[in-house]
Structure formats: C-alpha cells, structure tokens
Symmetry: C2
Subunit: 277 residues, 2 copies
C-alpha cells in the first residue's frame, strides 16, 4: 500500500514565498534585542450567497473562491440541488459572491428566519447536524504505514506554518500521497478551502483521508463527514462530542498523531495494522 | 513588584473535577491496545439578546451567563448605554437570554440590516473596529519578572487543559497574581467569559494583564483593547494584523511566551526589564 516516502507530487501545495501571505515585523525578544520575525497576514473576506451577505471570515487571503464555495457547502447553505453560475472575487471590496441559477433553499429559510428572530446564521449548526442523518461513509482500508508516511511528508513540506507559524493546515490525501494542502488562519477555513477545491474539480471523496493540524471538535468531524471523506487524522486532540459524532457516522477518527504515536477513537475497522512502532 | 511565586489565590480557578466538563472515552493507541482517555465536553449554547437570536457557540458548558454577557459586550452588541435587566440560562434549551431595559442600538441595526441583505452578524467585525477609534489604553508598568512568574503559576495551576487537553485558557492577571482563569473549547469563548465576569463584577481593567493560550489574531487583540486591558500575553504566535492593531491602540503585545523566552511586538514602553534570562 505504501508509496515512496519521497512522493511529494502535490496537486496543490502551500506557497510560502507567495506575496501577501506573510510579512516581516519587528519585535523585541526577552533580552530586549530587536528581532525581525516573519508573520502571517490576516484579512477579512465577506462571503455572499447571491444577494445575501452570509459571513465575514478572517483569512490569510489565498484561494478566496475555494474558501467561499467550501464554506457555503460545508454549512449546508449550498447543496447538490443548486446549480452554480459563478464565483466572483473582488479584491478591492474583499468580497466573494457565489451565484446560483435559482434562489437557494437556504436563502428562503434565511428570509423567513430573519423576519421572525433576527439572524439565521446562529441556527446553521442544527442544519449541519440534520445533514448527517442517514449518512453512511464508505468502507475503505487505511494502512497504519500510510498514515505514518503522510504525517512525515506533510511535516517536511515547505509551508507557511514552517516559515511563519500561527496558522492551521488541512491536507486531502489518498493512500500515502498528500494531494491538496491548504493553510489558513482558522482551522475551519483550511478545511473549507479543501472542500471548495473538491467541489470545483468534481473530485470524489472515496478512499480519501483528511489530515488537519487543528483540534477534532464536533464541527470539524461534521464537515469531514459531510464531505464524504471516511477518515480524519489530526496531530491535535479531540472533544467528546467530536468522538461521538464520528462513531455515529462511522468515520475513522485519529487524534494526537505525533511521530509514531496516535490514538484512534472511532472507525478502527478501516485500519490495517501493518506497522507497529 | 513581584509577589511570591506561590501566590495562587485565584478569585476563580478552573475546576477540572467538575461534573460535565470532561468524560472518559475509549480509544486504541498505535499498538492497537485499548486505552481510556479523558476528553473535554463540547455543547451548543444559543445566545439571545432580548428577542433576537444572535449566535450558537460551541462551549464546554461552564459559566454560560458570563459567556453570553462577554460575547455580546466584546462584539459591541451590548454597550455602556444599555441597562441590564437580567441574564437567564435555561439548561434544557441550551440557551441564554440577556435582557436589557430598552431595545439595544444593535437590535435596531440588526433589524434594518436583515431587511436589506440577510444577516448582520457578518458585519459585526466592522463595528468592532469602529469601537477602537480614539481608544487609548492607560499607561502602566509591567515587570518582566511578573510575566515570568505568571506564566509559571498558570502552567502549574490544575486545569482541564492539564487533565484533558484540547482546550484554551485565558487568565485575567494583576501584577504577578492570576485572578480569574477561564477555559473553553474555543479561545474566544475563554476571553468572553473573562469579559462577562468583569462586567458582572464591575471589575476595572486598569493595571490588568490578559494571558491567553490562543493565537494573537486581530479579533483577540481587538477584544483585549475593547475590554480596556493594556497588555496581552500568549504562549502562541500572532498575525500581522494582530500586531498592527496592537501598535495602533498602544497595547503591549507579547507572544511566543515559553519558559524564559518571549517576543514583544508592541507597547514595549510599559515593560520594566528587571529580569533577563
């Protein structure tokens, strides 16, 4: 199952040298000495669904179209029933407009909701949970040696994390190969950008694995499940509800992945134990 | 300036033994062996401002009233102009209602906004930035030895972080004394709970310092500044915009605080360099 550890042929990898993603600021260290430090950028991006302003996200700024698409999709605001007409990013107004052929079901709900009690964004979580009903993730095999290889490759990949820190990464993987590596200020944005890429490329989720540097909270687990990806791996910890939802939908959930150590909380039947440390 | 390093007399400290904040789940480690792991809880809490549903936050569940109050205050939805009538938490419906004597200015805006383009929550960030205009944080002295002492004490304090991980902490401090230590699944919730505590106690911000385990992003810096606290310290990193806003309002910003090392990005004139490693 394992590919070569040197297989770094990403479809999309971080570009830490890209203009506008980080900048050097001056600070003083504990001795009072002046030091130059490379720091990630952070800027607002307002996401519109047709005429409705949905949210302003804080983002590093790359792939705004993927972020908007993936966000709307992962929140259940954009579904398979909606026909996409276009995604337009305007740099000056720091906004992305996602346009669909017809008014979405979500916009209908939003209008109804805002007429009664103010704002519908707060209730979206319920909609996300609803999307999980009846969901079953496909069976697949995941070899432990592939997980080790992935973790090693991802940690070695030049990234904004390595050059500036204070950023989260999410990587779409298949077997031992990392395919698409997105980074962002918030851990949810990085996942949403991967979802937006998948949606725009028509990429299937079967046999894929999602690696993230962020914690495995309920929302992270729900997003992975709604994306149809059967396995979620993180170097960070997890919450009880995250574990509970993963068990409910049969997602393979692995946390605290560091070096040769990890903890599998759910979906262990997918694991092939071909390597023990 | 420095108090004794053993001065652990918190007004409010974490209670890792409290029922309902963590639970034991079973997982498998990298050898396939079954292991019991203590994991933080996470549950939804819907915050209402009078009749308006504002947001559903994911929280560990303690101090829902402080979280709601602090959230509304830090988002600029609740101001000094509003007279608080009460804060009611209903466990069954997982909701908190903050009631004011008169309809708040924010609700008026919300109503106007939702009539035109859907939802006002997305635009709140602009309101937060507006709140910074003309803001000047008070002069104060912060000795480096106090910062070292605080960091040491906080790391030694029994917490959910130490017993379960995957959680953020925020501590309101004065001199070398940590006063109020809040923890939550999201780093913003922990800060909001401190703000809610301050608001309900009428506690002043002068001479205080805020310590957080989370990253120093724009929103974190804005919240600290709006709370009137002149210094913000974190063991994590920072974003360029976070640094920029701190410089703009004259906030002392310290990041990457680990052991005897730290980086001061702004407001160094408050620092008294009485200890060098």
């Amino acid at each position: 199952m394992s590919a070569s550890t040197n297989d770094m042929s990403y479809i999309l990898a971080p570009n830490p040298e890209a203009r506008g993603l980080s900048r050097v600021v001056q600070g003083r260290d504990q001795t009072g000495a002046l030091v130059d430090i490379n720091v990630v950028e952070e800027r607002p991006l307002t996401i519109f669904l047709n005429a409705s302003e949905i949210v302003t996200a804080m983002t590093i700024g790359d792939y705004p179209e993927y972020l908007a698409l993936g966000f709307l999709r992962n929140q259940g605001m954009l579904t398979d029933a909606d026909t996409l007409l276009g995604v337009d990013y305007d740099e000056e107004s720091e906004a992305v407009v996602v346009r669909t052929k017809q008014v979405t079901e979500f916009e209908g709900k939003l209008e109804k909701k805002t007429r009664t009690s103010g704002c519908a964004v707060g209730t979206v979580f319920g909609d996300m949970m609803e999307g999980l009903e009846g969901l079953t993730l496909p069976a697949s095999n995941i070899s432990v040696s592939d997980i080790y290889a992935l973790s090693h490759k991802i940690n070695q990949t030049p990234s904004i994390y390595l050059s500036a820190g204070a950023i989260h990464g999410t990587v779409l993987c298949e077997g031992a190969r990392p395919l698409v590596y997105m980074e962002d200020v918030g851990r949810h944005n990085a996942v949403d950008k991967v979802a937006g890429w998948m949606l725009s490329q028509g990429a299937g989720a079967e046999g894929k694995l999602l690696y993230t540097t962020g914690r495995l909270t309920s929302e992270m687990v729900i997003k992975c499940a709604l994306m149809g990806i059967p396995a979620l791996v993180s170097r960070s910890g997890f919450t009880a509800w995250g574990v509970e939802i993963a068990q409910q939908v049969g997602l393979t959930l692995i946390g605290r992945m560091r070096g040769q150590r990890f903890m599998c909380l759910s979906g262990e039947e997918r694991l092939i134990w071909d390597e023990t440390p």
